[in-house]
């Protein structure tokens, strides 16, 4: 019976071949480490955010007079409303943490290099949509931080040439952030996750065309690939277990550690809180914005600091296979970049003082210089490595994979593989 139903479907929809091609039989490099778990985790957090978000929307009211109270209603009156809200708020942080690790892995192992540029660029698009969604969702509780965060970010568009003021008013639908802004942010906050899901589908189709990268950075021949199921389904699920433990510690024991206390005060358009900080995941970019002593310059620098990742496939000019593991100079660059991000995050968190402003400006300068020097560093490193030679085991591995691949057409003719 089951077979007959599947056969009926297969004549109309490629179910079996899809499952075989993209799940059970999907060839995956056998040497993937746990750093390759984070794409799956990002997908899981996306689903979690959509689920908790839809259920929160059943109780939330997007109206300046009601929204703050409707959050209190969710926290106190709705059955498990506190759980849904803490899951959603913690989920936002978890999403960025997972995505940043996912990006750091891509940078470290050079996974953005050919033929995976489109994966990197669709990922960049997904990051932008994620940032927009998080920012708009942050306005919805209508607390002090919500209001002033939205005020500051919408004001960034004043940097638009000639029609800056009009653009800001258009975005807000009002002269200041108000009811019109809240309602449209709610509508878009509900829309964007579905666009993200669409983007994820594109990201995955691209992935299944070029296949996963792997820690060696060398394209593996067929013999070094194993089916996704059960090897990586179980590995992803194990990683999910670890993730859920950390996530649940925050949801159940430290839910307020990620929520600014000032956001428990209803929005007051007449008074800005003394110490205003964005959520932790925006801190480095916020620090870059603050470091440039000019409105337009700051906005451009901040936009560039996010978009500069797109240029990585061109900035990295080395042809040495493998990620930072086989490339000592690139490895140093990578760690300097991570350290610089942490410094920027710290600067973004502290109130501006003479000292922290200088620190922020140095770190901002360093941030862009690292990207600008990368083409020269990678090219010089390539020459140096060619002269000096790669470690013998890597050379052996590259030769082995190449030999395996040269046998491929022959084996395909013999019918060993399909």
């Amino acid at each position: 019976m089951k077979n007959r139903i599947i056969k009926w479907i297969d004549q109309r929809f490629p179910l079996t071949s899809f499952v075989k091609h993209d799940l059970t039989g999907y060839p995956t490099p056998r040497n993937l480490s746990y750093w390759w778990n984070f794409g799956f985790l990002a997908g899981f957090v996306l689903m979690l955010q959509v689920a908790t978000g839809i259920f929160l929307a059943m109780h939330y009211k997007a109206d300046v007079t009601l929204s703050f109270d409707s959050i209190q209603h969710i926290m106190r009156d709705v059955n498990y409303g506190w759980l849904l809200r803490f899951m959603h708020a913690t989920g936002a942080s978890a999403f960025f943490l997972v995505i940043y690790i996912h990006m750091a892995r891509t940078l470290y192992y050079g996974s953005y290099r050919a033929p995976r540029e489109l994966m990197w660029w669709t990922g960049q698009g997904l990051l932008l949509m994620l940032m927009a969604t998080a920012f708009m969702g942050y306005l919805l509780p209508w607390g002090q931080m919500s209001f002033w965060g939205a005020t500051v970010i919408t004001n960034l568009f004043r940097a638009t040439p000639f029609i800056g003021e009009q653009v800001v008013t258009w975005l807000r639908g009002d002269y200041a952030v108000g009811d019109a802004t809240l309602t449209r942010f709610f509508a878009l906050h509900y829309l964007l996750p579905f666009l993200i899901i669409g983007g994820v589908v594109v990201h995955l189709v691209a992935l299944h065309t070029v296949k996963s990268s792997n820690p060696s950075g060398i394209d593996l021949a067929a013999k070094d690939n194993i089916p996704f199921h059960p090897y990586f389904t179980i590995k992803d699920l194990y990683g999910l277990g670890i993730f859920l433990i950390v996530y649940c510690i925050f949801v159940f024991f430290l839910p307020n550690s990620l929520i600014e206390p000032a956001n428990n005060i209803p929005a007051n358009p007449m008074q800005t809180p003394t110490h205003i900080v964005p959520e932790w995941y925006f801190l480095p970019f916020y620090a870059i914005l603050r470091s440039v002593p000019n409105l337009v310059g700051g906005v451009v620098a901040m936009g560039l600091s996010v978009m500069v990742f797109s240029f990585m496939p061109y900035l990295d000019r080395s042809h040495i296979p493998g990620g930072a593991h086989y490339r000592p100079w690139y490895r140093v660059t990578f760690y300097l970049f991570v350290a610089d991000m942490l410094v920027l995050g710290y600067v973004g968190y502290t109130p501006p003082t003479n000292q922290s402003i200088v620190m922020g400006q140095v770190a901002t300068f360093f941030y862009f210089i690292l990207f600008m020097l990368l083409p020269f560093i990678s090219k010089a490193e390539e020459r140096w490595l060619i002269r000096r030679g790669l470690p013998p085991d890597v050379e052996a591995m590259i030769a082995g994979e190449a030999k395996e691949k040269s046998k491929l057409p022959q084996r395909r003719r013999r019918g060993d593989i399909t």
């Binding site: 689920a51 109780h59 059955n79």
Partner: protein, 170 residues
């Protein structure tokens, strides 16, 4: 037991897979509970479960409509003649003695929702008429003309003082 023996033991492997699937499935099902529960009435809605009504302000022949759990409840102060007329009959389609429908004969308390498709009937002459589909009820809230299948429901209520009732608690 050597490691290779453990790996080759397919019974052991199948057992582990089954146990893991059951525990994981139970966990996923448990995680769905808060989502389902969040759609049940919240505690501020539950707080509206009972309504107290002061009857002293309702004159004879007067009908007061009060909201109980978001539904209209008719409280009708009946005259002696109406009580006699109602006690004499058993209603129409859904026979029920009047004594069973009241706690004190001068006070009729019924949920003002037509048992056909949920409209609110109007007090017209003796009894009520539902204008949606023409059902009629007598002064005991019993259906005397269709299409309504049942008498107007009597909500749980009790007298907490001589002229005060609480609706929602029997």
């Amino acid at each position: 037991m050597a490691e290779s023996d453990t790996l080759d033991d397919s019974n052991r492997r199948n057992f582990l897979i089954k146990v893991t699937s059951v525990v994981g499935g139970a966990g996923a099902a448990a995680a769905c509970l808060p989502f389902v529960a969040s759609m049940n009435p919240s505690s501020d809605v539950l707080a509206k479960a009972t309504t107290e009504v002061d009857l002293s302000a309702i004159p004879e022949e007067g009908v007061h409509t009060v909201a109980w759990q978001g539904k209209p409840v008719f409280i009708f102060h009946r005259t002696q003649e109406e009580i006699k007329a109602m006690e004499a009959s058993d209603g129409g389609f859904d026979p029920e003695p009047d004594q069973k429908r009241v706690k004190r004969p001068e006070w009729l308390v019924v949920v003002g929702i037509c048992t056909h498709l949920g409209c609110v009937p109007n007090k017209e002459g003796p009894g009520w008429t539902c204008h949606c589909h023409g059902s009629q009820y007598d002064d005991s809230g019993r259906v005397t003309r269709g299409p309504a299948p049942k008498n107007l429901a009597v909500p749980p209520y009790r007298f907490i003082a001589a002229d005060k009732i609480i609706i929602g608690e029997a």
